[in-house]
């Protein structure tokens, strides 16, 4: 079985390279990507098993816009996404809403074991399954 492809989007080159090194050691294929520009086309083309998306404070809106585009496009909306952020408030306020949309979150800083746990969970549970179990539409009582 081939190992899943992970696209890591982060503007910190050292962290990107470190993630690539560590995740490659764990058997994943990793494509690092610098920032949001060109990311949608790359993800559409490669159809990764997971996207790790860093949402940084100075350009929070860019990261959120990318996330919305990935969730809206038919070619990318089923791809699991793990959102990372150092902004604890963003994580706490948005985690439940994002989870409902099948997007996982992890607060920075995180260690390798926490990251691997999230990766395993996301790759094992594609978003289509998560949609079924946590539909944002409330069930109607008869």
């Amino acid at each position: 079985m081939s190992h899943p492809l992970i696209i890591v989007i982060d503007d910190d080159i050292t962290l990107r390279e470190l993630m690539q090194e560590l995740l490659t050691d764990e058997g994943y294929r990793v494509v690092p990507w610098d920032g949001v520009r060109g990311a949608v086309a790359l993800i559409e083309r490669l159809q990764p098993g997971l996207v790790i998306l860093d949402i940084r404070l100075p350009r929070l809106e860019d990261g959120r816009a990318l996330l919305e585009r990935l969730l809206a496009r038919p070619a990318t909306r089923a791809i699991p996404i793990l959102v990372c952020s150092a902004d604890g408030r963003f994580i706490y306020e948005q985690a439940a809403q994002l989870r409902q949309r099948g997007v996982a979150t992890i607060e920075k800083p995180f260690d390798l074991s926490e990251l691997l746990e999230q990766i395993t969970a996301q790759i094992a549970a594609p978003r289509a399954d998560i949609y079924i179990t946590t539909s944002p539409f409330p069930e109607r009582s008869s």
């Binding site: 050292t14 962290l15 470190l18 404070l57 100075p58 604890g88 408030r89 920075k108 990251l115």
Partner: protein, 134 residues
């Protein structure tokens, strides 16, 4: 006996000098640095007994980025870090997370005696007294 290595990272040079003098007088080997991209590699290589790291919570700040790398990298994850910050919002929001990761936090401004006390507690924690059977 080999002196324990402490790496101090801060962009305030006068404060760095003060801390280096304090730690050296207390018997430690203190190496001071301004935040720089190569520091993670240095810490990975030298495996200090402690890193005293100044962090301001602008997300692109070098101190914060160094911390992110140190936490993620298994080669540096076990190095104790004392995180110093003057930003109360940062401390309020991030302290629980940092404590969960076994790092320690010190709010600025601090007295040098307080810093030394924290350093000693982290590097040479008092032995847990044996519990004698009654």
């Amino acid at each position: 006996m080999t002196k324990r290595l402490i790496i101090v990272v801060n962009d305030d040079l006068p404060l760095l000098d003060l801390i280096r003098d304090l730690l050296t007088s207390a018997g430690y080997r203190a190496v001071i640095h301004s935040p720089a991209p190569g520091l993670h590699a240095l810490i990975r290589r030298d495996r200090p007994a402690l890193v005293i790291l100044n962090v301001e919570f602008t997300d692109a700040q070098p101190g914060w980025r160094l911390l992110e790398r140190m936490v993620l990298d298994p080669a540096t994850r076990g190095v104790p870090v004392l995180i110093c910050s003057a930003e109360r919002t940062f401390l309020r929001e991030k302290t629980p997370r940092l404590l969960k990761l076994n790092y320690e936090v010190l709010e600025k401004p601090f007295a040098l005696a307080e810093l030394l006390e924290r350093v000693r507690a982290m590097i040479d924690p008092a032995p847990v007294p044996a519990i004698l059977p009654t």
